[in-house]
């Protein structure tokens, strides 16, 4: 078991190195000099001053050093938690921007991922091989899972916030709210959180329900299910066993689906002007604030790697076969 987890850990370390390298190399591979772009924006008339400013910029971004040294310094500052400085929100460091935005994103994402997984699986298991439920639930599942996250958010905002006035249009709390740990403010936060959460939750739910429904049908057609039925086991028991077996691929699926849900959270935040990472990244993109984009990318990578590792550990706990297999020496 430790060998299995160590192997996984190695893969994740490798992924992290690859991601950091990509993150560093993209600006270097792209045509054009970012400092020249910056110079173009500030438009200095005097050529001598311009040359000085240019040299200064080159030095402060370490662009005058040989490539390998630039790469080395990138790692050094990364280890120190330095992700650069935002151009748009000068002089806030990127790391503090991320730390301020991350709680909002995580507050949306984590409950949405876990609850949609749980509810979706339950619904899918209920629907499988039950004609009426299958025919009513399944089309909804397909519609939801095929819906672009941002469009669902847009429709929710338009219908529930703007037309019916049932929820706030956006932001994490009302502009008049006084921040503090009291019931009024927490209620205000929840009130603003509900709609973006629902938007993420429902779209993700559709995918899980369909996946589970299909897996249960596979399981119910397998030999052990038929055998149990032939022995006269009650249908409920057979379905219970089928559900447990079908749950395993869904645990793995959780790791695979992370990327899509995160992308969904980013665009949902944009629609709701919810001040999380997605909103920050949108502002950074429209204002060409590259360090923020790169920093958020690294933050997301680390988050995904940690989540993957947690899922691996859960898988080992849930599936006894991996434990026995591991002890037998198979990886």
């Amino acid at each position: 078991m430790t060998r299995y987890l160590l192997r996984k850990f190695f893969i994740y370390c490798l992924t992290f190195v690859a991601a950091v390298t990509i993150d560093w190399s993209i600006p270097h591979l792209m045509p054009g000099n970012p400092v020249l772009t910056l110079m173009g924006r500030i438009q200095i008339q005097d050529p001598q001053v311009a040359q000085h400013v240019y040299a200064n910029y080159m030095r402060s971004f370490n662009l005058d050093l040989p490539l390998w040294k630039q790469y080395y310094y990138f790692w050094v500052s990364l280890v120190h938690g330095d992700l650069g400085t935002s151009i748009l929100q000068f002089p806030s460091p990127v790391s503090s921007i991320i730390l301020h935005a991350a709680p909002y994103t995580l507050g949306l994402l984590v409950p949405a991922i876990l609850l949609s997984w749980y509810v979706g699986n339950k619904l899918g298991a209920l629907a499988a091989r039950r004609k009426v439920l299958d025919n009513t639930l399944l089309p909804f599942g397909y519609m939801l899972t095929a819906t672009p996250y941002m469009w669902f958010s847009i429709v929710l905002v338009w219908v529930f916030a703007i037309t019916l006035h049932l929820a706030p249009v956006g932001f994490a709390y009302s502009p008049t709210a006084i921040r503090g740990f009291n019931t009024t403010f927490i209620f205000d936060l929840l009130h603003h959180w509900l709609l973006p959460f629902l938007s993420l939750f429902l779209v993700a739910c559709g995918g899980w329900a369909i996946g589970m429904r299909n897996l249960i049908i596979y399981e119910l057609e397998s030999d052990y299910a038929h055998y149990l039925e032939a022995l006269g086991a009650p249908r409920r028991l057979v379905r219970k066993y089928a559900f447990r077996n079908a749950l395993l691929p869904q645990v793995t699926g959780l790791a695979l689906a992370l990327g899509a849900v995160i992308a969904g959270a980013l665009v949902t935040e944009i629609v709701f002007s919810y001040p999380g990472l997605g909103y920050q990244i949108y502002r950074a993109i429209t204002n060409e604030d590259y360090f923020v984009i790169q920093g958020i990318f690294l933050f997301i990578i680390v988050g995904v790697l940690i989540a993957n590792f947690i899922i691996d550990i859960v898988y080992v706990i849930v599936d006894p076969r991996t434990r026995i297999g591991m002890e037998g020496g198979q990886a």
Partner: protein, 317 residues
Amino acid sequence: MSTADRTRERPLAPTAGEVATAGEDPVLDEVRPLSGVRETLYFAFRNKKLVFGLVVTTAMLAFAIVGPLIARHPPLAFGGRLGWAPTTREGYWFGTTLLGQDVFAQFVTGLRLAFIVGALGGGIAAVMGMLVGFTAGYRGGIVDELLNMLTNVVLVIPTFALLLVIAAYLNVRSIATEAIFIGLTSWPWAARALRAQTFSLTSRDFVSLARLSGSGSSKIIFKEIAPNMSSYLVMMFILLFGNAVLIAATLDFIGLGPSNTISLGMMMQLSVQNAALQLHLWWWFVPPGLALMTIVGSLYVMNVGLDEVFNPRLRNM
């Protein structure tokens, strides 16, 4: 057991012709595939999900092809009345944007781009997945180890975040570069699935026979192994296609769409930016998302239908 295995082991109801010639191998070889195709088609046309998915997708495709030809205004031209509701006057069938652009023209242009991005991005991802999956599964050993590691690394990286960084640095963006980058990042799960399939087929007798008869690796892969999972490959491509369409729309919505044109994702972005929600200009932001949902949803439904056709156990009896 895998999909492809089930396809092969399907109990074929022998036709009269087959029974008569059952003793003679050469003839049998000619009759079998034909009856297999006929049987598949028989179930295909009776499968409501498959027919529904096919009809809707084809209709949308036809709309994407014909739409730009009948649009009366260029998609990016200004000049219409501002924020018109859908009308028959002056050809603004879907109304106009807040800036006076023709929503119909934008919509059909975006629809066309969605299909192009899906086909190109999904196609590139499928080719990458096949290359990696076939090679890893067939070669095994150290090649398999290395490719597996590569697959795992790309699989774990949240590709959307990666695409964000790449696209943000590209000054001039086109639909082709968007599709290429989507294709180059979304192949891992396909490669993984194909590797497993190839692995199980490689140990079969007919592959060993081909190897004994001196066929080269690429010939064995494309003549012996790939045809045996053709149904699987088709379904994989459909999923990759839908995936590429959704990723492209999300990228466009975040402001990283192609320059000098308009896509469905960009329509949604612009409508949100220009307060179309507050002004209730629903004809601006409802059609693009609805179209994406219809295309991708019908592709998914088609996929389940195909699965049931190729996979008798799943048919609802």
